[in-house]
Amino acid sequence: MKRLIKRICQVVMAGLLLTSSAIAADSVKVGVGIAQTGFLAPTAEPILNAYKLWAKQLNDKGGLDVAGERRPIELVVYDDQSDFSKEAAIYEKLITDDKVDLLLSPYTTAAHLAVVGVLERYQFPMVGSTASSEQLKQIKPGNIWFPSPTMPSQIATEYAKLLKAQGVKSAAMAVLQTPYSLETAGLLRQTLKEQGIELLVDESYDFSTKDLTAIVSKIKASGAEAVIALTLPGDAILYMKAAREQDLLAPYQFLLIGPTGDWFQKMFGNDLDGILTAGHWSPAQAKWPKAKTFYDDYVAAYGMSPDYLDVVLSWISAEITEQAVAVAGLDKGKLREVISTHTFDTINGPIKFDGVQNATTPVMFLQLQGSTPQIVWPTDLATGQLKTKGPWAK
């Protein structure tokens, strides 16, 4: 009896080994380094969720279309521990040791910049995602592309135009001391001046600030019509609390990053009504039929709505990679050419690159109406009408 059981186990193991070897031989290995631990993990996790959902949906359909042949995707994920200094080594390992066929991008601009050299050294194309900085314009076209339209210069130019179009004459600015916010602030000072909008308050604060009462008090005292808070989610909470407490009723209140997060909406509910934020996407935009499908799929998979910025960008980067592989297969040279020249059909509409930049998607501004983000600028892509911020909910 013992011998029989042993024999059966051996046969089963052999079968499993053969099967897994067969799967491994056919699968397309897709590598990514991303923060799964450390201070960036909370905001990086939804991005990894987007990648996992993308891989799962393709595998449910039979796999990734590799120039006409369906092959299953195998994600190879490494934790960069929220440490950008590890990123280059991780991506080098993915290329040389794990021998991945494709790469998905890491999280944050700094992480992207860290891997540019590796991609160039190994001539390995990768579509970027959550990177946004004027520094990106200095990168020579090669093996990386950036689909994000929320570049500091575009935000500064377009938001000043939006305020001017509403007849705003004065503004107040509160800036978190991070590279992205500081870059945007520097450019906003110029564009607001060009539009004839006077900056009455111009304050900055660091990451460890626990209370924005003093800044909001100054803003309220100034009587500025527009408040521009260049925040990340954590300090966006501090702004909202201080603004509510002090009943700040400036008609236009803008938080750079934060309001489109599912957990942020749960925290503030109807108080977000009228708050403006930066973005470039909405599931309500009927011109992008895939947008609503993605939104519904993400909610069904994870029980929360996707962030309208980073998660969407990550999905777009995966979509572009997928469509490029369908045309070019896994040949790096052909992939590079396809990504550089084709127009891709994404959840954010058509995307085409000019050099390393997205040449087709404009920066947009969203406004929370009720607790739903609606595109309000530019007006030709609007899904909702821009309105002034009403009273805070009691």
């Binding site: 450390g38 304050e203 407490e245 997060g261 942020f264 749960k266």
Partner: protein, 294 residues
């Protein structure tokens, strides 16, 4: 200058003081009695925050109720850690010779374990909830009800602790242990029992602080580090192991932060806070209320 007279600013400073005092009290207790550097303090706070979050989401119990559960869980963790791990180390003379550095390594390991367990159990997604966020109008000042609760509970906890250590037998015994460990043992004070109680109290306070903070901020598994740093700054500023020092340090730090920013600019916040910190330590290396080492 109007900012100095602003009641709104004053209330914010008081609320922030309450947060800082609560955060620092637990850490100070543990260090004061046992010279253990609990660098996992902020992570224990996050655990308390998760207790508050899941109590509301799953059981419908608001933070006013669940904060006691958070404190109890913290105390239970403290009990387990002390009884099954630390007690053995503390009785080891070689370990005791380098107590502070050894304890830092142990608690650093605990910090990593707690962070990653929370991440596995709850994911790294920020958790937030809407509770007692109605605005309370106090005449010239408006404040969120949740922030008012933080202020009241912080004052109550600090007051209770001061009274406990001043008037209760256990409190007096703990103070004797802090002052003179060997002499305390000679007069019959059970050091192990006192250490255990104080350890549980310290961990319980961390859980309580986390539950309260979760009303005003999003909770993540990796968000505790900033509180650990703040707590260490406060207890060093006030005087290591000195309860009143922790309270004074917390209030001072909060007022410097709020009023320093209001009078100058928030851009100078860190410069002012850490500038004062360094200046105090240069003048009084033992901290504001710490005892000078001869």
């Amino acid at each position: 200058m109007e900012q100095i007279a602003s009641l709104q600013i004053l209330l914010s400073a008081l609320v922030l003081s309450s947060v800082y005092v609560l955060v620092a009290l637990g850490l100070n207790l543990v260090y004061g009695t046992m010279r253990l550097l609990n660098v996992a303090h902020g992570d224990l706070m996050m655990l308390g925050g998760y207790v508050a979050y899941w109590s509301l989401v799953l059981l419908g119990i608001g933070t006013l109720g669940s904060m006691f559960g958070a404190a109890a869980l913290g105390a239970l963790l403290g009990f387990i850690l002390y009884q099954f791990l630390l007690r053995r180390f503390l009785s080891n003379s070689r370990f005791a010779q380098r107590l502070e550095s050894n304890s830092m390594i142990i608690f650093f390991g605990l910090s990593i374990i707690v962070q990653n367990l929370m991440s596995l159990a709850f994911t790294a997604d920020p958790r937030s909830y809407n509770y007692m966020n109605g605005i309370v109008d106090l005449g010239h000042v408006r404040v969120e009800a949740s922030r008012l609760v933080v202020l009241v509970v912080g004052v109550a906890a600090a007051t209770s602790l001061v009274l406990f250590f001043r008037y209760s037998r256990l409190g007096l015994a703990a103070r004797a242990l802090i002052q003179q460990k060997d002499a305390a043992a000679l007069v019959g004070i059970d050091a192990n029992r006192i250490n255990l109680i104080v350890f549980c109290l310290g961990f319980g306070l961390a859980g309580l602080a986390g539950a309260l903070v979760s009303m005003t901020e999003a909770i993540t598994p990796f968000g505790g580090f900033q509180y650990t740093i703040a707590a260490f700054v406060i207890i060093i500023l006030g005087g290591l192991g000195n309860l009143w020092g922790g309270i004074v340090g917390g209030v001072l730090l909060a007022f410097i932060e709020i009023y320093g920013s209001a009078l100058t600019s928030t851009a100078y916040r860190s410069i002012i806070v850490y500038g004062v910190f360094v200046a105090v330590l240069c003048l009084r290396p033992q901290g504001l209320l710490g005892k000078r080492i001869a």
